[in-house]
Amino acid sequence: MTNEIPTKIVINCSTGVREVLELTQAEIDERKAMAIQAEEDEFAALEAAEALAELKTSARSKLVAGEPLTEEEAATLII
């Protein structure tokens, strides 16, 4: 098992000099925090999209059946 330190590439746009630099511990820690946040954001976004799709399906079914819609269901149909 290796403990290689991840690296980043930095290019100086004025000089064209390219450097490959090791991440600092602070940068490594921040990257871990970014990954956790991304997981939370993605989960929330997909959950919200799924909930909206379910509401639309329910609203459509009720409309076809002539049943009253809830406020949330109606909101999915009104722009």
Binding site: P6, T7, K8, I9, V10, I11, N12, C13, S14, T15, G16, R18, V20, L23, E30, R31, M34, A35, Q37, A38, E39, D41, E42, A45, L46, A48, A49, E50, L52, A53
Partner: protein, 177 residues
């Protein structure tokens, strides 16, 4: 539009790509990326940061499609995000593509940017996004970093190119050269 610099990730990958010391000789900037990360999933979210600012100083409004659903969102973040990179379980040898347009990058006001992108995948799950972004920083943009959020590396052959847009000779018209 002039290419300022291009970075192509080599063997072993890199955790981020940074364009530093961006010249102040242009009117606008464009970043074009072709990216694939080592995340064990089909989609990778990525983050752009300006001048190394990792604070919650960015926000966006987005329309996003996943191939099977769509949603919109608008949140404050610590970078300009995009869902337009592939993870490492997407179709082999495919890369996500996106463009980030940064008008008036030398402005002493907050910066608004726009972005569109899609990750390529020979499957239902293929995300696209269009986004309007804002960075509250008032300093001229002199560095841009792009980082994968879930994965730890941009894989080999990922590329990012920074372009500069020049104002026209009358000082008001943006032209390409």
């Amino acid at each position: 539009m002039q290419a300022i610099q291009t970075v192509t990730v080599g063997s072993g990958g890199q955790s981020s790509i940074t364009f530093s010391s961006i010249p102040d000789t242009y009117t606008d900037l464009v970043v074009l990326c072709s990216l694939r990360s080592n995340r064990t999933a089909e989609v990778e979210r990525l983050t752009f940061r300006f001048n190394g600012d990792s604070g919650s100083n960015y926000s966006y409004k987005a329309l996003i499609g996943t191939g099977s659903s769509k949603f919109s969102e608008g949140i404050t973040t610590n970078g300009i995000i995009s869902y337009a990179a592939t993870g490492n379980t997407a179709t082999a040898n495919t890369f996500g593509n996106l463009s980030l347009y940064i008008p008036n990058y030398l402005s002493s006001n907050q910066k608004s940017t726009s972005q569109d992108g899609v990750f390529e995948n020979n499957a239902t799950n293929a995300w696209q996004n269009i986004m309007a972004n804002r960075w509250t920083g008032t300093a001229p943009i002199n560095s841009i970093t792009v980082t994968p959020d879930f994965g730890t590396l941009w894989l080999e052959h990922s590329t990012a190119t920074l372009y500069g847009i020049l104002a026209g000779s009358d000082g008001t018209t943006t032209v390409t050269t």
